[in-house]
Symmetry: C2
DNA sequence: TAATTTCCGTTGCATATGCAACGTATGGGG
DNA sequence: CCCCATACGTTGCATATGCAACGGAAATTA
């Protein structure tokens, strides 16, 4: 368990919780590490006793099955990430998704809600865990809201404009250094890659922007912002 | 304050907290009700001492200002809704948005994070408040994820198919009774209203669906689900 | 250096869709 | 019963964009 504790220090859920405290906390959480072979289910859609999990080793797939049995992949979660936190925290009665090991994996599962509800002991580290969880949920919230802001726009040009303006790193030179390559950006904005390239080129030719790789320079801020607002 | 307490019983943040407990809690939270005249700011973009707020009366606008000073409306929050919870819970150091009274309003503001961090007293109702907040954040998370699922699809037809399949209310007759009218649905899915109508008609003519008002019947489930998965 | 892969821009084409304008049905209020 | 408002469907048109296929530049590997 000690090496697990070491691993967990890289996990946002356990920020500021270390050493003895972490070990205690894992006991409070009734945390256990299970091995799942590739293809095995951590829990199934419709289950009501699903838990919060952390991928210690390997990878899990979040899968949704419709009423006719068609399956679709919602997300793939690698180590050292967490899953199930939104479902557990929202107290959704039965899980709308299945979680399946995408390869042989080690998964830590724990009773998060039980700890939250029975926080009678008021340990310092209980409080910190809850804070961490709120921070995770809230940050994801902000992230999702931003993404929706882009996706809601109709044209590729509007999406690009909004994205670039939001990613200005140097306000003086109006430089946007973005963390995505073309394909990732296209994916993120929900547009076709070649269509993105095309639009970027047109915007360059019109003198709105210039770019090289992932560094974008905004040449006509007013024109861009008019697209966004 | 007592009538405020009555009002707050309709607010999800205070579910399962009533009477004396609620009054105590409001003290712990350092909750105060302020009046803001139309146009006044509850807090401004860049402020670091923003708080969680509840619209008791009136309405507030969430506004974002870009580096050139252009303003855009992000959201309008009517009573009895809450705002600022994601920012506060994610501990975002400075607010990326301003909040402005859209009309003469009464706003309750409180120190949520202070209570969370110093939950030394471990009152039952502290725990419940935190649980409620987590539930709010997590539920919003699930809601946003669902919306992104729709928005990420490229064609109107795919969006409609995904939406209808997700809203099947009667699995036997494959009926989707949806809570939105056409304009709202178009808005939600991020498409033009007339384009939505057009696509719905085409899908009807192709025998995929039939509909009247907000009641949709799925005639060819396989064809629809193929669009979604 | 040569070979290979990855990333990105370009282009032709078919089609989807935003937009605007108008027509139709339905229901509520006078 | 008529008027009016609201919600929806319809359609023409210009254009944006997905898709597929290709080419070149740059980075990586052998």
């Amino acid at each position: 368990m000690k090496e697990i504790a070491k691993f967990l220090r890289n996990c946002k859920l356990f920020t500021n919780i270390e050493g003895e405290e972490l070990l205690h906390l894992l006991t409070c959480l009734n945390a256990k590490v299970y091995k799942f072979n590739r293809g095995n289910f951590i829990w199934m859609q419709g289950d009501s006793d699903y838990k919060v999990g952390i991928v210690v080793e390997g990878k899990v797939n979040i899968i949704k099955e419709d009423i006719m049995g068609n399956r679709s992949l919602i997300a793939a979660i690698p180590a050292p990430h967490i899953f199930g936190e939104s479902l557990v925290s929202s107290e959704t009665p039965v899980s709308p998704v299945s979680v399946q090991a995408a390869m042989d994996s080690k998964i830590m599962l724990f009773d998060f809600l039980r700890l939250v509800k029975s926080c009678g002991s008021a340990c310092n580290y209980h409080t910190r865990l809850i804070q961490n969880m709120m921070k995770i949920l809230a940050s994801k919230n902000i992230y999702l809201n931003e993404k929706i802001d882009y996706l809601s726009r109709t044209t590729t040009r509007q999406k690009v404009a909004a994205y670039l303006i939001n990613h200005i790193t140097d306000a003086d030179s109006l430089l946007s250094v973005i963390p995505l390559n073309r394909e990732e950006l296209a994916d993120y904005l929900g547009v076709n890659r070649s269509a993105l390239s095309r639009e970027l080129s047109i915007m360059r030719d019109e003198g709105l922007i210039s770019f090289k790789k992932n560094i974008f320079s905004i040449l006509n801020y007013d024109a861009l912002s008019e697209l966004v607002f």
